[in-house]
């Protein structure tokens, strides 16, 4: 770590990578990447943030002020944060042309759209998330229909919950229920039309009206984040948590953060699948370095290491030269159209936060 | 009067409640000026103005000349004027000898500690307080404090010494002795001084006397 000071003086190429710092596995993985990149004379600095939207707020402000050189070289993001930066024209474009390893990306994974918005080469995928539940004492069940979940809640009142929307795990839970309760109605993959909104949302609200009284604190209070819910699960207060990382459970159990009796569970037959991405601010101070880091992170070695079971365990987004098996742990479920998200979040708040 | 050592021009004092016009005053070297007037009418503030201590509640139009130089705009530390406060204000965190050492004139402070010490001890012996040199200030009686306060002011060798009701804090018996001691001491070392008091008996018989003028209330 003393290298850091020396490096500051002789100005080795630093790349300031703003990324969520709440996961030990991710942090360890980035430490490994740091060591690997040192050989390429790049010093990767992981700037750990509690919420990447802090960085996004900074970038938007920098962009608004038309600052030439940003404090951020690279960031890890997806969804709304990407939309905002893309809309503000704050990101560097044409990434795939500048990143050789982007040729390895597996186009069948559906990363070309990030929560329903075209990535348009303003970000490159880094990994894949699949939404699922972590549940205590399930026996051999791997999936449940919404009705079965309701029955479970009925027989175990006060033991289930989900993160409070608009936290994105919470919103994803709503999206999943919306799809399942409407038998994956085609209109859900289109921008919502006024005529169908009420009709398609009604089953969801009816379902939640039934479910909420059976949840933790009678559904009047929800965990603030997936991480907090996972702590409640570990402490025995809740019987479930939610996760986007199919390896999270294995990791947590190996490190004795979650009891061995907990299992992964799908609601419906498939897991909502989306990608998380890397993007470079338009005003990045060291864009070449950042591109080099992205190239490394998309290399076979880095992607292999990332999905290793004793590491982060995050699914790869590239096709490995020697192995063409599909990467997904769970069958993939596409996202509903982004227009529904806003409706879900808004109406959820109106109904359940008064 | 061209050879006057201290020359105060006619001055106009603006206090929050009143305005005061002071006549021009001159002092010869070694001469004593006594300023007499009731408490709370601006005498002490005027004294602090002479010292160079700017106060927001007092505006003075006038000038001070010391040894032929106009010092009106000089900072306190450049004027070479010393003061003995009514409440002495010896430094409570320092011993007697440290209180005196801190007041030595700059050219003595530049000399070896041994020289400084012998100079202080010599002065302390003159006022018969050498035995208290190492004592903390808190261990001193009122009279002892008063003498140390005067000594501390003169050891600095000021060109002009200001005394602000220097005996007011002492009881009457002690007060009488302190007066005699102080004026004898001042005349021995030949320092010019201005003493301010509300009590006529605080002044020595032979000195220039100024009755503090009555102020005009603001209209």
């Amino acid at each position: 770590m003393k290298l850091w000071f020396i490096a500051a003086l002789v100005s080795v190429q630093q790349v300031y990578f703003h990324a969520w710092g709440g996961s030990d596995e991710v942090n360890q993985y980035l430490r490994w990447a740091e060591q690997q990149l040192a050989a390429e004379d790049i010093q990767l600095v992981h700037v750990k943030v509690a919420d990447i939207s802090e960085t996004v707020a900074l970038l938007l402000r920098e962009n608004q002020q038309q600052q030439q050189r940003s404090a951020v070289d690279l960031l890890w993001l997806n969804g709304e944060n990407f939309h905002a930066l893309k809309a503000a024209n704050a990101l560097r474009g044409n990434l795939s042309a500048a990143v050789a390893n982007s040729a390895l990306l597996d186009p069948s994974l559906g990363w070309q759209h990030d929560f329903g918005i075209a990535t348009d080469d303003f970000e490159l995928p880094w990994g894949v998330g699949q939404f699922h539940l972590l549940v205590r004492g399930l026996g051999h069940t791997n999936s449940m229909s919404p009705q079965q979940l309701l029955d479970y809640a009925n027989s175990n009142p006060g033991r289930l919950s989900y993160p409070k929307p608009p936290e994105f795990h919470g919103t994803t839970f709503l999206k999943l229920l919306l799809l399942e309760l409407n038998q994956h109605h085609g209109a859900l993959y289109q921008a919502p039309q006024a005529a169908q909104q009420a009709q398609l949302l009604a089953p969801l609200w009816a379902y939640l009206d039934q479910l909420h009284p059976l949840l933790w604190r009678g559904g009047r209070e929800f965990p603030a984040s997936a991480a907090q819910q996972q702590q409640l699960l570990a402490q025995g207060v809740l019987d479930n948590a939610v996760s986007f990382n199919p390896s999270e459970l294995t990791n947590a159990q190996r490190n004795q953060r979650l009891p061995a009796t907990i299992k992964a569970l799908l609601v419906g037959q498939r897991a909502i699948t989306n990608s998380h991405y890397l993007a470079i601010p338009k005003a990045a101070n060291n864009p070449e370095g950042a591109l080099q880091v992205v190239n490394f992170l998309l290399s076979e070695a880095a992607q292999q290491r990332k999905q290793a079971a004793d590491g982060w365990g995050d699914a790869a987004v590239i096709r490995f030269s020697h192995d063409n098996t599909p990467q997904h742990v769970f069958p993939a479920q596409a996202e509903p159209h982004v227009g529904w998200v806003k409706l879900l979040e808004q109406q959820w708040l109106e109904r359940y936060q008064q | 009067m061209t050879s006057a050592y201290v020359r105060l021009s006619e001055a106009h004092l603006t206090l929050p409640q009143s305005q005061i016009r002071l006549p021009a005053i001159s002092l010869q070297q070694g001469e004593l000026l006594a300023v007499m007037g009731p408490s709370g009418c601006g005498k002490s503030s005027w004294l602090r103005w002479l010292l160079g201590d700017q106060q927001s509640h007092l505006l003075v139009q006038g000038s001070i000349e010391l040894a032929g130089v106009d010092i009106t705009t000089q900072a306190i530390e450049q004027r070479g004027i010393g003061i003995v406060w009514q409440d002495f204000l010896l430094f409570p965190h320092l011993s007697v000898i440290e209180n005196l050492r801190i007041a030595l004139p700059a050219h003595v402070r530049a000399q070896a500690a041994r020289v400084q010490r012998s100079m202080i001890m010599q002065r302390l012996e003159q006022i018969e307080l050498a035995g208290l040199a190492q004592q903390p200030i808190t261990a001193l009686s009122g009279g002892q404090r008063a003498r140390i306060a005067v000594l501390r002011a003169v050891i600095n060798q000021p060109r002009l010494l200001l005394l602000d009701e220097p005996f007011a804090a002492l009881d009457s018996d002690l007060r009488q002795r302190m007066r005699q001691w102080t004026f004898a001491y001042l005349s021995k070392i030949g320092t010019s001084a201005i003493i301010v008091s509300h009590d006529r008996s605080d002044f020595p018989p032979h000195c220039q006397l100024l009755e503090w003028p009555k102020g005009h209330n603001h209209d």
């Binding site: 965990p223 991480a227 004795q256 | 700017q54």
Partner: protein, 524 residues
């Protein structure tokens, strides 16, 4: 001389007022965008509950703090134990207490299930208030002792007794009114903190809906323009609530002095504050220390399945670097803040700087994220494309207003009472002003200076947002790592960083135990 003091005053005012002009510009620009959205903001789901919750929290904290002040006794013993609690970071205390006292907590695992208290749990108003109160009581106690040290209360008691009042009645009639007056600002700061705190609120306060400050931050972090506007409305509402709290504190003080104190007669108000609170604090700290070395600790086991220091060892290299960053930054920020406030207060003596204390204390009354984003523009001039040292400077500069506020709070009362003629006397011996200050004033107000420095350091140490927003992540600290880790679910890692942060803060607080007496200079 007049021009010099005018020059000083203008410099001071520019430096003091500029941050607020930037803020006004920032908020103003946002408000002007779409004024019609105010209506949809007012209809935001749960807004009224958010506001009323915040008010409830503030009022509860105010009343608790008021009781604490009423129960203050001059003491030297007992209080020192409270100091270790001041060092315990808010978030660490919250995590520790919940781990200890929540229904699934360590303490309850010792007792039969039917004994469990349901009211102290995560995301409950009561537990949030309890945690805030526990954290603020030592601060209030310390400030009360400072205030008492600056009052000749023994003489007042004697004169009261000589008039025929009992000692206790003299205490109520003569000492307490003055103590209440002097505790006005600390009380205000405690209440405003309870209105604006976010990290502890996310853990301990209800979330459906959350207290207003939490929602303001969430709006602000939501990239949508509408949310930004909502955040500004929310921030202004928080400011209004803070102003309201100020009025309420004044009213409570007057009511107490006019109505309550004359009726108290021989009553004594005693809370077993020191012992109980230091015990709870110590247990919370112990709970975190235990967690930092525990593996597989699940309900309802009394002890983890194994203890291990492996994680500590693994983190040690990072921890040492972060420790150095945090300590260095804290010392630098504390020293500059102290010097800045000392200079301002000396200038203030020579030429009035209007509303100096207000300018200095304002940073404690405004949501921090709003402020930092408003300042970002200016800081970018310093940091844009520059090296780590520039970011370091920006970071220090951005932290100073928050540290300086505490310096002002602690130092100003002592400074105001200082007999400045001590300095004048030394100047008359030929020493320059600042040399006179160093020789005469510094030793005489050593204790408040040290206390202010330590507090400024603690405040700097606890900063998270400036590290990310102004420092661009160039200078991570124990706190920034703790906050980042706290957003995850790894309890052991969170505990390791919380314990480290606590240890660093303890290093600072230990300085306060430096043997010293309150000297004559500040008792005037």
């Amino acid at each position: 001389m007049i021009t010099v003091s005018q020059w000083r005053t203008s410099v001071a005012l520019v430096v003091l007022v500029l941050p607020w002009l930037l803020l006004a510009g920032y908020i103003g620009a946002q408000l002007l965008q779409q004024p019609q959205l105010l209506f949809s903001w007012l209809n935001y789901p749960g807004l009224s509950t958010m506001v009323s919750q915040s008010i409830l929290i503030a009022v509860a904290i105010m009343l608790i703090a008021w009781l604490v002040i009423l129960s203050v006794q001059p003491s030297t013993a007992g209080g020192c134990r409270l100091l270790q609690l001041i060092a315990l970071p808010h978030l660490a205390l919250a995590i520790g207490l919940l781990w200890l006292l929540a229904p699934y907590g360590w303490l309850w695992r010792l007792l039969p299930e039917s004994w469990q208290l349901q009211f102290f749990d995560r995301q409950q108003l009561v537990s949030f208030v309890v945690i805030l109160a526990l954290k603020e009581i030592p601060f209030l106690w310390l400030m009360s002792q400072r205030a008492l040290a600056q009052m000749p209360w023994q003489r007042w008691l004697l004169s009261g007794q000589s008039l025929g009042y009992s000692r206790q009645r003299s205490w109520w009639l003569l000492v307490m009114p003055e103590l209440l007056r002097r505790m006005r600002l600390p009380l205000m700061i405690v209440v405003v903190y309870s209105l604006s705190v976010v990290d502890v609120a996310l853990l301990a306060a209800p979330q459906t809906p959350a207290p207003l400050a939490v929602q303001v931050l969430q709006w602000q972090l939501d990239a949508e323009p509408t949310s930004q506007l909502f955040a500004s409305y929310g921030a202004i509402t928080l400011l209004l609530l803070a102003a309201l709290a100020g009025l309420l504190i004044l009213a409570l003080e007057k009511l107490t002095i006019w109505q309550l104190l004359p009726r108290l007669k021989g009553t004594t108000v005693r809370l077993p504050v020191a012992t109980l609170i230091s015990l709870i604090g110590l247990l919370a700290a112990l709970a975190i220390v235990a967690q930092s070395a525990a593996l597989g600790w699940f309900y309802p086991q009394l002890l983890p399945s194994s203890w291990s220091l492996a994680r500590w060892q693994q983190e040690l290299p990072q921890l040492l670097q972060l420790f150095a960053h945090s300590a260095g930054l804290a010392m630098l920020v504390a020293s500059i803040s102290l010097i800045w406030v000392v200079v301002l207060l000396e200038w203030q003596r020579r030429g009035r700087i209007s509303a100096l204390m207000m300018w200095l204390l304002l940073p404690l009354l405004v949501p921090q994220l709003t402020l930092l984003l408003a300042w970002q523009q200016v800081f970018a001039l310093l940091t844009s494309g520059a090296g780590g040292w520039h970011y370091g400077m920006a970071l220090v500069a951005a932290q100073i207003p928050f540290s300086a506020a505490y310096v002002a709070l602690i130092l100003a009362p002592a400074e105001r009472r200082f007999e400045q003629r001590y300095v004048t006397t030394l100047q008359s011996y030929g020493y320059g002003f600042w040399r006179s200050w160093w020789l005469a004033k510094r030793p005489l107000i050593k204790q408040p200076l040290l206390l202010a420095w330590v507090f400024a350091g603690l405040v700097s140490m606890a900063q998270y947002l400036p590290i990310v927003l102004m420092g661009g992540g160039r200078w991570p600290t124990l706190t920034s790592e703790l906050v980042a880790n706290s957003s995850g679910a790894n309890n052991q890692l969170i505990a390791i960083y919380a314990v480290s942060q606590w240890l660093l803060a303890l290093c600072f607080v230990v300085l306060l135990a430096w043997p010293q007496r309150i000297t004559e200079g500040e008792q005037r």
